[in-house]
Assembly symmetry: D3
Homo-oligomer: 297 residues x 6
């Protein structure tokens, strides 16, 4: 329990709660998938804020799934173990040993940190990788072809998500538990595959018909033709922006992912500024914009 605060602070709290009420009512019972990575994972303060947001959302009845990325810890551990990064045709290769290290760091390290932090704030989470619950998150080895030679390139244990067994997540969500998902899937032989965390979040959101998918990114949102962050954009607009080069570079695959989420039945997607503390709550429980809100249009 917090220490005694002054009366005006308390009245401030109450006023804020009342202001948040209509938003709480709007989101109660909804499913929200949050992808969390990059800066938000590096900064301890930002991490704590994300966990607080998640726990608060659960406390007001929102069903939350958190998907996290691998972060820098994976490469650090690789370095310490003397694993030399290998490249084929300029592409990084994930050999079995690297996959093993990445898995240990992500599932045994990062996931534990997040799950413990949720507990510390009074919430209840369970860390999951694709191995759990009968292989709930499936992938297949990524087929890559050298663009020049047309020869197949073996990237090792890198996979593309092929399936999410939403049915096994539902009882967890019903029980008020937050699934914390590491970006490690299994293939049909239940062997581990590194998968892209954004793709995992998208696949989970689609499988759960989520009301909202939030990407916590290192940018303030999607910039429109005027180079300003657009508060909203619909799919036709996004297609136009991709066609005319407004959306380009690293934002391109992210936007394609958002579109596939919207096409798959997710009600709306937010490309949010993950460097702002409490971006998730700001987005859902206030009328502040923290990035770009994408809809089917």
């Amino acid at each position: 329990m917090p220490q005694h605060s002054s009366t005006s602070a308390s009245e401030n709290t109450v006023g804020a709660l009342i202001e948040a009420l209509p938003y709480v009512q709007r989101w109660a019972g909804s499913t929200v998938v949050v992808k969390y990575g990059g800066s938000a994972m590096v900064s301890e303060a930002l991490s704590r804020a994300v966990v607080e947001d998640i726990v608060l959302l659960r406390a007001v009845g929102v069903r939350v799934v958190l998907v996290h990325g691998g972060g820098r810890a994976v490469s650090e551990m690789g370095r310490r173990l003397g694993l030399e990064p290998r490249f084929v045709d300029g592409l990084r290769v994930t050999d079995s040993e690297t996959m093993r290290v990445a898995q240990q760091v992500q599932v045994g390290g990062i996931s534990r940190d997040i799950v413990a932090a949720v507990g510390r704030r009074g919430g209840r989470a369970v860390g999951l990788s694709g191995h759990d619950l009968g292989g709930w998150l499936r992938a297949e080895v990524r087929q890559h072809t050298n663009r020049q030679t047309g020869a197949p390139v073996d990237l090792g244990r890198v996979g593309d998500v092929t399936g999410v067994d939403a049915a096994v997540l539902i009882p967890l969500l019903d029980a008020g538990t937050v699934p914390v998902v590491a970006p490690v899937a299994v293939d049909d032989a239940y062997e581990s595959l590194n998968v892209n965390a954004d793709s995992v979040a998208t696949a989970v959101a689609v499988a759960l018909s989520a009301e909202r998918l939030i990407f916590l990114t290192d940018v303030p949102g999607i910039r429109g033709p005027d180079d300003e962050v657009a508060p909203t954009a619909d799919v036709p607009t996004l297609h136009r922006w991709m066609a005319d080069g407004t959306v380009h570079g690293g934002m391109l695959p992210k936007v394609l992912g958002c579109i596939s989420a919207l096409d798959g039945g997710v009600q709306a997607v937010t490309v949010a500024d993950g460097t702002r503390p409490h971006a998730v709550l700001l987005e859902l429980l206030t009328d502040a914009g923290v990035g770009t809100l994408l809809t089917l249009g």
Copy 2:
């Protein structure tokens, strides 16, 4: 949905929510009975604040019952209908016609206002009197004896609460509905009886084994021997204060009611300052004190 507010206002809201989180977690799933009357009912602003508090508590998973008093509307209507107040041995008598008017005003008027206000804020309430649900709130005619002559005094349709059928309230609470209770009970012949709203609140809180019973009063709390409002008091202390006259006058019956609630299994009772807006939320979701917190000790 509220209008766009400035960013700092939103961040203020989020900070307040995070601050409230441990309190939200503490009260989720608990049962709270609020007695609401006096000034709080007269002022429109205070009324609105009470309803907002109730709806917000429900939104964060608290099971709430609201018991309201009759207010001035009853006597006003009596005056308009030309009902002459009658007294026997100096005591006001509630004849059948007055009872009828009181019931119409309380159940058909005040209760509707509160229930509608809960709906307007996005909540769900149902107005109840003792007639409902197979006579869930029972009373018997108050036996009164003239202190001098020893002769029985007929006070008419005034009753003392004899029973609460908690079993029929549980499904309502489970469904997220707020029972809004008028202080009108029925006798064994299902005829109406005017009952004291404080007694109704106490009986309901005991029947539901409530975690908290809150009386919204017109005073800032219970004053101790130093004439300051005591932040807390336990039952032995209350007995002492009644014995030495610290507690006296109109506070005496209220304190006796609080003690019987605590004896009956209610975890704690707050005699709260109902003239402060949002006293209920201040009491439950912040660390501000809004009166005196009573415990068994």
Copy 3:
């Protein structure tokens, strides 16, 4: 418990029960909406019989909703309070004060009487107006236009039913509770509106896909071209009778309501003679006709 009766009376009772058995089996688990008003509400004996019918239906497993009208009590109270009936273009206007009085009398008076009577006979009812359960019965202000001038006429707080939230009634019916509905709805601002009880009954029956809707009226049924009460009629017949003037006057809007109920999925509608005691039971649990049975045809 009744007093000892003679043996032959008991055997008579048993014979009657056995005779009613196939009807009991036919209706068990069905939903029946009863509209109750006019003479049936005025006579104490008829009122008691209606309540007995309702309680007995519940006891044999029928899901019953009772919709009542305002009766004479509303106008009496208006008179006592000195409210002058106001007319615009010959139409009665319900100003806010009149609405308030009507609501108090209907919800705080008549509804309580019925709910208590159900309890007295061993049943369980709950009195509802549109304010309850998050505004379950919605209406909008009636738009009226002066036929000659085309100018809009402000009839005050008179409304047309726009929606019934059946989902909130289901748990009540599942629990064996009889909703007793007063003809008071709310608009989108949760302000009260006077609505026609027949329309409420129709809307509720449609929303619940009721097996039967029974109107207890002051007439013996619908008269056919031979001026005899028709035991049955289907919708094509009713259209013919309206076209040729067989159905006319005050029966016209009632028949239109019945047709809209049948079109809306209610299996059958009875325009019953409410001046016969126990008309509801006679209609459902015996083979006696108590009016006209209407079907889609």
Copy 4:
């Protein structure tokens, strides 16, 4: 559906239903075990009346178990098959072949007749013997000793009830099904044993903590010292009557059974006149007495 009857007949039916209402309410949800044998089983009209009573009780929410006796059909079939009754020390012996015939007649014949009759009246029954549901009705071979010689007498497949698995009956009763129980139990090797139907009814009523156990007998009830049928008697009285010889002969074991039922927690037992049509309904749904009502006292 019955044919049209005259109006006055219908009103008679309705009046009877209303008269039965408080009884219906009293018994709804209760468990009643009926033992049915002797004359009631022989007469087709009486049989039909018993089944009608059972089906009607179910229709108004009473949980009913029917235990039937073997009737004359068993000995008739034995005769036809040329089975010679065998006696040891003057006691009838049930050899394996006789047991087999008795079982076929009771389970494959009588039980089917009753179960079909229940279905014909719109009810739902299931015929059970001790073999069903994992051996729900257990017995052990009766140990009999020749009173003069002290030598053990082998009575063959005659057993004493040792256990009832009430847990497997509950889902049937919950589903509105009437268990129709033949007096055939199994021993620990799941071999059949003939058991006394009265003992089965008592054991089932105790295992289900039944509110009422009704024996349909060939006598009008238990006669008191004045040789009149006593309307009621409590256990102390019964003990006195057994001591002074008022209760004697064939009534003795029946009364001992009743006492053990009451001691075992059955609320009341009726020794009813099974030769009166509809004795069960008369006993439960009217105030007519149809025998002697026994209570713990």
Copy 5:
């Protein structure tokens, strides 16, 4: 509990269990209907093996219904009772007395034996005929016409299955109970009719959308054009074989029944060699073939 066996026997058991695991997983939660008659019913060892198979299937989560035939016991009992077989136009007639005897032997004898045997092995069964559960198995009198004269032939109480009320079987299966079904149905007047056990099994399997229907027959399977038992056959193949006479004689009606089961939604049907002990388990939990597996193709 079995006696101590040697270690290698235990290891053998464990190896076998592990080998059966994928089959156990494949069938868990599925519904299997087994028709059991002919030799399998006559031999005590085969009977015991069938019951063991059923109980083991239940223990690993398979939902099983067992349909049994009448066996020789019916005709034996007929002979003992001196019932002369009667023929009309060369067809056997089932008069009412014969029907009664058949019913007693099947329901009161054979069904009891099977149900008891299931209990003896630790399982839970309930014996059913068409009379039970409100007449769950319906039939109508078979209409037969003399092929030469065209005159109707009265075959007595022989019926064709017209309906199965699967809804009443589901709760039994959910509770882990094995319905043991005798081939006795009821007509609309709830009078008994002898029906073909194969037809009952087919109708039950269709009504339950069973994953598998197994006929335990006296032949090793269906022979193909090479006169060898075909391990599998699909419906087009079966039609070809019927057209070219490969399938003929007594196998013809059985194959027609299988086809109608497959058309009705049963996933696969096995015509199994019922003379092999444990044919059911061999078919479902090993990769051994015990007859011909039929699929829609």
Copy 6:
């Protein structure tokens, strides 16, 4: 699905299943906790056999929890990362970095391997550490005192189990999921602590009131005074053997753990020979002994 085997192999399988039936029935619905470590974890064949046992137990309805040890992988990884083992007073110290590595290897490596293997065999598992589900496995830092000096010794992140939240495991077990538990708990600040896997298994078994706790060890069981492995022993015997030195050395703490499990309500504990393949199935589903069975006596 396995390949076709010869018929006699299939009959062998079926015979083994039938032999196992009474054991399957005995354990269905029971809770079994298996502690798995040492040789069983090192050998790939033994590991696979343990997983097969677990999956088969689940398939026949046993509720299984698997607790695994850290194995050699932890120290190997420590070596690779150049973590020098540190000792204080001759006791190994687990500093934070070592704890982190141990956690990553156990939760992110070993646990994943087991969980994936369960999935590969058709089962469903979820890997858990103390962080999950709101900190379901709690411990406190082990207090250690130098025996000579009496000075406190800081062993770092080594803990003693203080609590198991069984309530959060129940829904997993109800859903047929196997919790796979790593020996990593959290303290009240949700920081990781290394705990002894035997103690975790004991605490979990006690919290779930398990029917059986099985320790898969590297020894054939507990040796009695004759130095032969005792097939069974009760607590009084164990106390005697500890007093007279029959039980000594490394077996001492294990036996103390077994006794505390039995005292805590676990029905029986097996100290099993984990070097025998399928020791768990041999113990539970055959009558072979695979170690020493301990009971309260």
